[in-house]
Symmetry: C2
Subunit: 208 residues, 2 copies
DNA sequence: GTCCGTCTTGAACGTTTGTTCAACTATGCT
DNA sequence: AGCATAGTTGAACAAACGTTCAAGACGGAC
């Protein structure tokens, strides 16, 4: 007669439910407001279920980090792929534009990442997730930059260093904007980054 | 006869003692390991003393943020001032070198800043400290960049935007290195930043 | 030497934390 | 229909948290 007190789900469904709930909690309350009880309430399940699927809270957060980072990277890649491979410069611009879109330039997302970074200094599990996902992120940038250098016939271009510099500039602008959104506008951020790209690629061979 | 169980100190001395202890705790254990009991133990005082000088723990952290940021900025300014004002480019290089010195490029310091950033999204008190200290930081950079542009006779130079970009690049490289020190060396970071400066100042007028 | 003011102490309180586990129940199988 | 399995629950636990406050002790004033 009465409604069932709970439904049974597959392990994959449950894990996704818990991960999404954890990400919402992090976005809302930051790292300090993230407790097993908060996550359970947000997911609409009982407290004990979390420890049934994750031995420790940190394991869930590591999974959430991996999920969020993968999703973000996939979204960036999709934006890049809207531009044909023949237009190497345009693909790079698509990446930059995506980096300053409302989905990324978001104080809530910043709170989530702050929590991940904090935990990565304490948990090797999270540290590993960071290393792999950030490596993928930089690989994408490196490929885009190398393609551009190749298209312009630039030789001896250090794509690795360029990718590190560009990702640092993007991350730094993202960081500053999330900490205080009044210092500059997203458009100014885009202009600054575009200029960096042109400067770096333009002077890579030592001439103009 | 016996040693006194405690010594009385001035309010300023006590506050400094507590601030330094809090900073050491943050460097060691990060934001999560920071409790009033840990700070008290590190400072060698009783638990109650903290709440005697600071109504709330966040007030102590805000004070610690202000202290650490001021000290860091003063150290940077001192390094810059070792180069004569006539050498605008050299002063900027001194700032860059100081940014990649062992004192700054330090995972322990990173943990401290992570805690400050996390708290700044929650406490208006800490947010205010961030806004003022970061404003000072960017003002110094802006002055150095404007001096360089003036020395080179560049007109229409947007020092504000340049300072934002340079600080973002520096912060981004600092962030990446602290999260994973194997991706690039400090010297590579210096080279990248120097190149950014030359590129930005060189192309500011639109010619080579 | 004694006294007073206040700086300092540490026990105590009420929350909240992560984790455990015995009990319960939905669900597929026979 | 009933059984076995396993997904789910929520009470319980010990530990740690920030904060309060009455009691204690140092150190200067007299």
């Amino acid at each position: 007669m009465g409604e069932p007190k709970f439904n049974r789900r597959s392990a994959d469904d449950r894990r996704r439910l818990l991960i999404d709930a954890a990400l919402r909690c992090l976005a809302q309350h930051g790292a300090d407001g993230l407790s097993t009880r908060t996550i359970a309430a947000e997911a609409g399940v009982s407290l004990g279920l979390i420890n049934h699927y994750y031995r420790h809270k940190d394991d869930l957060i590591a999974d959430a980090y991996h999920s969020a980072a993968s999703e973000l990277l996939a979204a960036m890649q999709a934006e890049v792929d809207r531009v044909p491979a023949s237009d190497a410069r345009g693909r790079l611009s698509a990446f930059v534009r995506a980096s300053f879109s409302g989905q990324v330039l978001n104080p809530d997302l910043f709170k989530v990442w702050l929590a991940f970074w904090s935990l990565s200094t304490r948990s090797v599990r999270v540290q590993e997730v960071h290393d792999t996902t950030y490596g993928d992120y930089r690989s994408l940038l490196e490929r885009l930059l190398a393609d551009l250098a190749a298209a312009r016939g630039i030789e001896g271009f250090d794509a690795r260093l360029a990718a590190i510099g560009l990702s640092a500039l993007l991350d730094g602008l993202w960081l500053e904007w999330c900490l205080n959104a009044t210092t500059f506008t997203p458009d100014e951020g885009i202009a600054m980054t575009e200029r960096w790209i042109d400067g770096f690629v333009g002077t890579a061979t030592g001439h103009c």
